[in-house]
């Protein structure tokens, strides 16, 4: 074995630690760390693993509620959904790896989040993906889209977890730094939930799954915790390759092992920072210690050093703690599934993680110091000077429309608004036969077999709003995700987030982050959808340019009766069309303004959370009373575009509608302006009185817009037809657009 480098401040700096952090490490140990220990400090104290810049702020998020079984801090959050079952969910980012190698980056992102779910004893039942790419005319965009989408499909389809929804947006701020966020939800029996704890003195610690190779060494500290630049190219060997087949075996074997009570004491996946993170966190959670011998770790390559083994991020591996009595049975189960299982150590009561290699102690560190003792920063924050400028919007400079047809035709084929079918059709969204509402409606609905219930799932974030006003943008993201759930007929029960930002060492970025947290906290509190877990991804920058702040929000909702699930498209000729909520909308930050006038400016229309809540309740009330046939959230593209979507997004083909809008002021704002708390519903004529009454008593305006029918969508304002489109033609243009954009 080659001689290990001398540990000192210099080497610590090369590992991404600061001088003070290094001193802190020396103090925690009471001596100079060994080389392996330095590696361990560097990953455990990296931004990605320690949340050192975000922790002080994340504390402000609401994490409690009557249904919450497990809030943040475990591998995934857990919410009670009745009948002794719980929903286990979380969202994770895999941004940097996906930029470097889109297929494998995205694939291993899916693999990672799925492990987080089944680690808890839950069987994953559905995933969502939230994607952000650069402008379509950027030379790498098409390549990245192709690779990322294929990677998500490749992994998710194989392992048999349906990808039932998500979002995709294109914006130049992601040209050099795409976002790949994946959400996954699983189902567990409440009494079979497992946690990542190394409990029980002398219990065996078992390594299961793939062998350890050199892949991904320093993935967490170098890729996920620093900015991108041209030198990132040389970081390429850190790319990991996913093996969904092995993960499928791992999933089945782990669930089988966890089924028998008491057989598995604790279990955690080896994700970022692999063996290091899993040993240290499991020990720290249990207030215990662990001693492992690296000679027993199954290796894929020769000549791996203790440093390599501890830091490897090879995929499809788990660490579990059994008992002396159950060890044999656990190993038999893994053997049945053709997986390697080897006892690599024991639980101790020293509070320390001791690592032995070839009879030599290569690391001996207090677990607490690595986790709770990690540095925490309240980094300086400052509102960027440009915030004022981008918020200024002088509409006088923007010419109004005489007619909305042409603009609507442009919008329906726009990269951010056209149908996502070309993407979600490559995802298996039906496996497990639970998908009651497939991708293509506001929220996906997944039935829970053996019950009447179902889960509704939606993910959202409009990062243009967040760029213009981070706090409001975050509130709007939560409100929209929750509104999507309400449109599908669900009640939000929990939220997970993936907070994608630039470099936290920059005060402007930190300010965006703090503002976003404030917005999320307020909205989740008001909408009674506590945060049960999430992920922070900083350093999303290229050559000093940060992405738009992108706090992606995924909300999970519950439907007591799956038969009450609603979809967004008009269903029957002759149904009446209503707008629930205010017609008032704003061009500020709208897709229309960006697309047609090339401007991203103004302050997005603010959400009044009490009104939002009232809207959701009115909507669910109407649904429960059987009054409505469809419900669709009005978001990007405004009222006119939402109406068009109601006409053309149904799986059975297009249906026309004749509508009339009232409104003073600008036509473009009336048609394409955006605002929260608005939903288009369709209802049979006989429901009208009761619907209006229900809205009235909830304080939610109910406005008749028109009637479903015919083969055209028409919109009249003040007696003039400002939109008149053949819906079948619109549907085919909207459906084909994304594929055409991607073909180039």
């Amino acid at each position: 074995m080659s001689r290990e480098p001398d540990v000192g401040r210099e080497l610590a700096l090369q590992h991404g630690l600061t001088g003070e952090e290094y001193e802190r490490a020396v103090a925690a140990l009471g001596r100079t760390p060994t080389y392996t220990e330095l590696g361990i400090f560097s990953v455990m104290w990296s931004e990605h693993c320690s949340y050192k810049s975000s922790r002080v702020h994340l504390k402000n998020l609401p994490t409690e509620g009557p249904r919450i079984v497990q809030g943040p801090g475990e591998n995934a959050g857990i919410v009670d959904i009745g009948s002794g079952i719980a929903a286990v969910f979380k969202m994770e980012s895999h941004n940097h790896p996906s930029y470097v190698e889109p297929y494998q980056g995205a694939a291993t992102g899916v693999g990672g989040i799925l492990r987080d779910i089944f680690t808890m004893g839950a069987r994953p039942i559905a995933s969502l993906d939230s994607l952000r790419f650069g402008a379509l005319d950027h030379p790498r965009t098409r390549y990245l889209v192709g690779g990322v989408v294929a990677g998500i499909a490749g992994y998710g389809n194989s392992i048999g977890v349906p990808t039932v929804g998500g979002e995709v947006a294109f914006h130049p701020s992601y040209n050099g730094n795409i976002l790949v966020n994946v959400f996954s939800v699983g189902i567990a029996r409440r009494d079979k939930i497992h946690r990542g704890v190394a409990a029980g003195l002398a219990n065996p610690v078992i390594y299961v799954g793939s062998r350890t190779g050199r892949d991904g060494i320093h993935g967490a500290s170098r890729l996920a915790s620093s900015e991108f630049d041209a030198a990132s190219e040389s970081k390429r060997p850190t790319v990991q390759v996913g093996d969904p087949f092995t993960e499928k075996l791992l999933l089945e074997a782990c669930l089988e092992a966890m089924k028998q009570p008491g057989q598995v004491v604790g279990i955690q996946d080896m994700g970022a920072a692999g063996l290091t993170c899993s040993t240290v966190e499991m020990a720290a959670r249990a207030g215990a210690g662990m001693e492992i011998d690296l000679d027993n770790v199954p290796l894929r390559e020769e000549g791996m050093t203790p440093y390599d083994i501890m830091l490897s991020e090879s995929q499809e591996r788990m660490l579990l703690v059994a008992t002396p009595a159950t060890e044999r049975r656990v190993r038999d189960i893994f053997e049945k599934w053709d997986l390697e299982a080897s006892v690599i150590g024991r639980v101790t009561d020293t509070g320390r993680v001791k690592v032995i290699s070839k009879g030599r102690i290569v690391a001996d560190m207090p677990a607490e110091a690595l986790v709770d003792g990690a540095p925490r920063y309240r980094r300086p924050s400052a509102r960027p000077a440009w915030q004022e400028t981008v918020q200024a919007l002088r509409l006088q400079e923007v010419p109004d429309l005489a007619d909305g047809n042409e603009a609507l035709i442009r919008l329906l084929a726009a990269p951010n608004l056209c149908s996502r079918q070309a993407i979600y059709q490559t995802y298996d969204h039906m496996v497990r036969t639970n998908t009651v509402v497939r991708p293509g409606s506001d929220a996906a609905v997944i039935r829970l077999k053996g019950t009447e219930r179902a889960l509704a799932l939606a993910v959202d974030c409009n990062s243009r709003y967040c760029h213009l006003d981070p706090a409001e943008g975050a509130r709007l993201a939560v409100a929209e995700a929750a509104r999507n759930i309400a449109c599908a007929g669900g009640v939000p029960i929990g939220t997970t987030d993936c907070l994608n930002f630039g470099n936290p060492e920059k005060p402007e970025v930190m300010w965006q982050f703090e503002e976003s947290i404030k917005g999320i906290a307020e909205a989740c509190r008001a909408l009674a959808a506590p945060i049960v877990g999430g992920n922070v991804s900083f350093y999303n920058e290229t050559e000093g340019k940060s992405i738009h702040p992108t706090p992606t929000i995924a909300v999970v909702g519950l439907l007591e009766d799956v038969r009450g699930a609603l979809t967004q498209w008009f269903r029957r000729e002759g149904d009446l069309i209503f707008l629930l909520g205010d017609a008032e909308a704003s061009l500020a930050g709208s897709e229309y303004l960006a697309l047609v006038h090339g401007r991203e400016a103004g302050r997005p229309a603010a959400v009044e959370l009490a009104r939002e809540m009232a809207l959701h309740e009115a909507l669910r009330g109407a649904r429960d009373a059987g009054l409505i046939a469809s419900a669709h959230d009005c978001s990007e593209g405004g009222l006119a575009f939402a109406l068009l979507e109601c006409c053309i997004s149904g799986p059975g083909g297009a249906v026309g509608a004749e509508t009339r809008l009232e409104g003073k002021g600008r036509l473009d704002a009336l048609l394409f302006g955006e605002a929260p708390s608005r939903v288009i519903v369709s209802a049979p004529p006989e429901s009208r009185a009761r619907l209006e009454h229900a809205g009235g008593s909830a304080g939610v305006p109910v406005r008749l817009l028109g009637r479903v029918g015919g083969i055209r969508l028409t919109v009249s304002v003040g007696g003039t037809r400002v939109v008149d489109l053949d819906v079948a033609r619109a549907r085919s243009a909207w459906s084909a657009a994304l594929e055409e954009h991607l073909r180039g």
Partner: protein, 236 residues
């Protein structure tokens, strides 16, 4: 009736078929681990969808060597019903129990969506409840479902009426546009000469209940029930 559902490492529609057999049809169902080979009491063996053995190399290539495949062959030789869905079809084709091969979709992409199928014959145990020409709405979910066989083999298949399902449009017309993967002659499902082994790429297990958007797939499972034990006809 008892369905035996083969579980290969990598099968992922095993639970879906089990659910249909047990909870939708109310029949008995059992999982058959690929390393075992006991078929005691099984009336119909189903090879479910998924990606057996990772689908590495070629779909179904490695699964055909699982110990259970010998037993499947023996079971079929004795006249037992063998039904391959999606990956299960690929395995049966690789094993030579069904003619032809499934290759990469012409569009190169994995495709998950509803398609229409036309039933080509009623006199198989899998289609007893489907009139010839009946049209089913049914999901597909595959990346390698393009049916291929050399020209002479195709001719033979047609002569022996081994094509059980073809992709078609909602009206039952077989057109180029309604073929989702480039399958030759729009073939979606074939059977062996004797008619007791059938494989199809679309997923009847994904459309056996109205709540999932179509219950057309149930008719195939009901055909199996009906065709296998006529005595039970009245109970269905």
């Amino acid at each position: 009736m008892k369905f035996g559902i083969v579980v290969f490492p990598g099968s992922n529609c095993d639970h879906d078929v089990y659910h249909v057999a047990k909870h939708v049809l109310g029949q008995e169902a059992a999982f058959l681990w690929h390393k075992d080979a006991s078929f005691a009491g099984i009336d119909c063996v189903v090879l479910p969808g998924g990606f057996a053995h990772g689908d590495y190399l070629r779909c179904g290539a490695m699964a055909r060597f699982s110990p259970i495949m010998k037993a499947v062959e023996g079971f079929a030789a004795r006249g037992g019903l063998v039904f391959g869905i999606c990956n299960g079809f690929q395995v049966l084709a690789e094993a030579g129990l069904l003619p032809g091969a499934l290759v990469r979709n012409a569009g190169l992409q994995y495709v998950c969506r509803d398609v229409y199928l036309r039933s080509e014959r009623q006199d198989t145990p899998f289609t007893a409840r489907l009139k010839q020409g009946a049209v089913l709405k049914i999901p597909i979910g595959h990346g390698e479902g393009c049916y291929y066989a050399p020209e002479e083999m195709l001719k033979e298949l047609e002569e022996r009426r081994q094509v059980v399902f073809r992709y078609c449009d909602a009206a039952g017309q077989v057109t180029a546009e309604s073929n989702p993967n480039g399958s030759l002659r729009s073939i979606a499902g074939v059977c062996n000469e004797r008619g007791n082994i059938m494989g199809m790429m679309p997923h009847p297990d994904r459309c056996a209940e109205e709540v999932l958007g179509s219950a057309d797939g149930r008719r195939i499972f009901e055909s199996i029930l009906h065709g296998w034990q006529p005595a039970r006809r009245l109970r269905i």
